[in-house]
């Protein structure tokens, strides 16, 4: 049960039940669809950049497991006001955190750190990173990505 709490921290359960920014962004200038064909997760991400290239608004819709839903929710919360370069740098650190089993908790990740437990569950890493891969597809106008 302690392992379970390690993976499914309260923050994750909360964001799964009540995902933040779970909505369309109108108007938006970037969007993309992300699929995880292995487990059927689907996410649609929309965002709008302001004149200085900062993420002014970002939201998502779709359906997925608790890990992918919470990850998308926390990601949208975290990214508001960040530049694209800051978002990419954050994804790099987040990716390292959830994929490297030996990684220490990175305090600079803030709330995103609650997903660190995923690093012990290789089958679930794609759940945690789906929203981020979709973000990159949106920023690069690739339209659609699949994590398989």
């Amino acid at each position: 049960m302690s392992d379970l709490r390690e993976l499914y921290q309260e923050v994750i359960l909360d964001h799964n039940k009540q995902p933040r920014n779970f909505r369309a962004v109108d108007p938006h200038d970037h969007e993309a669809d992300g699929y995880n064909p292995l487990c059927g997760d689907k996410i649609h991400l929309e965002l709008r950049l302001d004149d200085s290239g900062r993420i002014e608004d970002i939201g998502f819709t779709g359906e997925g497991c608790a890990i992918s839903t919470a990850s998308a929710s926390i990601m949208t919360e975290t990214l508001k006001g960040k530049t694209v370069a800051e978002a990419n740098a954050l994804f790099d650190r987040f990716h390292h955190q959830v994929t490297d089993e030996a990684s220490e908790l990175d305090p600079s990740l803030g709330k995103l750190g609650v997903l660190a437990g995923v690093r012990d569950y290789p089958m679930r890493v794609k759940c945690a990173t789906l929203a981020w891969h979709t973000l990159q597809a949106a920023l690069e106008d690739r339209g659609e990505i699949s994590t398989e």
């Binding site: 392992d3 379970l4 993976l7 499914y8 487990c39 059927g40």
Partner: protein
């Protein structure tokens, strides 16, 4: 919990003995007794199968069909000795009709490319059902793309039964071939293959039965069934992965071109003209999975020693028990409730994604499959992204079902 439940049937005492034959079941999972409920994906292996493969490599292994030395002769005998075992297992009329392949997937591809593709013209139709595994969809799409033929799909009813009227209506003058799953790996539905074959044969259309989920769980008689082709994978019949069987009527096999070219499938080779061996060798190019085929034979004998009538009774008893106990959990939704069903239970639980259930159940020592089970069109038919699937083998007992139910209560506590 199972101590107070009524006996699982006449074989209840046997289950303990059977479980003792499977080394992996003696190993704990996350400190708990392993409840392995994913035999529809691949079954665990009894000691005799493991020993058969090891014995081959340790005592008599050599390549088959070519050496004059004793090791090669012994390997050849052991390998060829599996054909009559398979013949008996599916009641085939002739052991020359037993082709060894890598598994059901390769068997279907072989039939698609060597039997069906040469007879197809643009506008011809191949009929499958809406509950096929990707392995019985994609090979037909490949031949359709190559020939201009059409893939036609018979619908599935809401309870997971095949729509027989819908199927009947789709067998017409353009139908060239029917390929149908015997038992659905996702729904558990047992299809009335005899009736389907009769309908097809009335129109002169040959039929392949995908037996990946029927061979491990019920008596199979290809003659009574009337099929033209039947196939299964060894890894689901308690044998090793990478081996399997295509059975086909000799009248079909004898006229089919080879599927792959290479050694061991020829009569004579010259640069001007090569002549092919007779079936089944014609379809077994290259060095096969020798030890795997030998161990597959041992797995089939193991099933026979348990007795398939007893096995089906045991698994049906477990299925009924599981449907009862799972059905008591609030928010439970079954996908697939056909009256004739094998030991497969697909379900969803309100408000919890199958993937999260799979992870939590794993921590409880319960191994289930979550996802689309290689049946994405069927998932779309039922408008679900994924399901949790528990499937039974002959080594499962009520404790396994109880562990699943307890685990699901844990899931509900957690996500409740």
């Amino acid at each position: 919990m199972s101590a107070t439940a009524p006996s699982a049937g006449p074989r209840a005492l046997e289950v303990e003995r059977i479980r003792a034959d499977f080394p992996i079941l003696q190993r704990p999972m996350n400190g708990k007794r392993l409840a392995f409920l994913d035999s529809a994906a691949s079954a665990q292996k009894p000691q005799c199968v493991i020993d058969a493969e090891r014995e081959c490599y340790e005592t008599y292994y050599a390549n088959i069909h070519r050496g004059v030395y004793q090791l090669s002769q012994r390997s050849t005998q052991a390998y060829e000795g599996v054909r009559p075992i398979v013949q008996r297992f599916i009641n085939a009329p002739d052991e020359r009709e037993v082709v060894f392949v890598r598994g059901a997937t390769e068997a279907i591809n072989l039939v698609a490319q060597s039997f069906v593709r040469p007879m197809l013209s643009p506008g011809d139709e191949i009929l499958i059902t809406g509950m096929e595994h990707h392995a019985n969809i994609v090979p037909w799409q490949l031949v359709c793309e190559a020939t201009g033929a059409q893939l036609v799909v018979a619908p599935v009813l809401d309870d997971g039964q095949l729509d027989m009227e819908g199927l009947r209506a789709r067998i017409g003058p353009k139908t060239r071939f029917v390929s149908v799953v015997h038992v659905s790996n996702t729904l558990g539905t047992i299809n009335p293959v005899e009736a389907i074959i009769s309908l097809a044969h009335e129109q002169g259309v040959p039929v392949l039965v995908d037996g990946a989920q029927s061979a491990p769980h019920m008596p199979v008689d290809v003659q009574a069934m009337g099929a033209d082709f039947y196939c299964f994978s060894a890894h689901k019949t308690y044998g090793p992965s990478g081996a399997g069987v295509l059975w086909g009527r000799y009248e079909h096999l004898k006229d089919m071109p080879p599927y792959q070219g290479g050694g061991d499938m020829i009569r004579t080779v010259s640069f001007e003209k090569t002549t092919y061996a007779e079936p089944p060798q014609r379809f077994e190019a290259g060095t096969p999975n020798i030890a795997g085929v030998i161990a597959m034979g041992r797995g089939l004998e193991y099933i026979e020693s348990v007795g398939r009538e007893a096995m089906i009774a045991h698994e049906q008893g477990l299925l009924d028990y599981a449907m009862d106990r799972l059905g008591d959990i609030p928010g439970m939704r079954f996908i697939g409730t056909a009256p004739h069903k094998a030991g497969v239970v697909s379900f969803l639980l309100d408000g919890v994604h199958p993937h999260d259930m799979g992870t939590i159940l794993d921590m409880e020592g319960v191994a289930v499959r979550v996802g689309h089970h290689c049946t994405q069109p069927l998932m779309e038919r039922f408008e679900v992204p994924a399901t949790v699937r528990a499937s039974f083998g002959l080594y499962n007992d009520r404790d396994d079902v109880d562990a699943l139910v307890d685990g699901l209560h844990r899931v509900k506590e957690f996500f409740g």
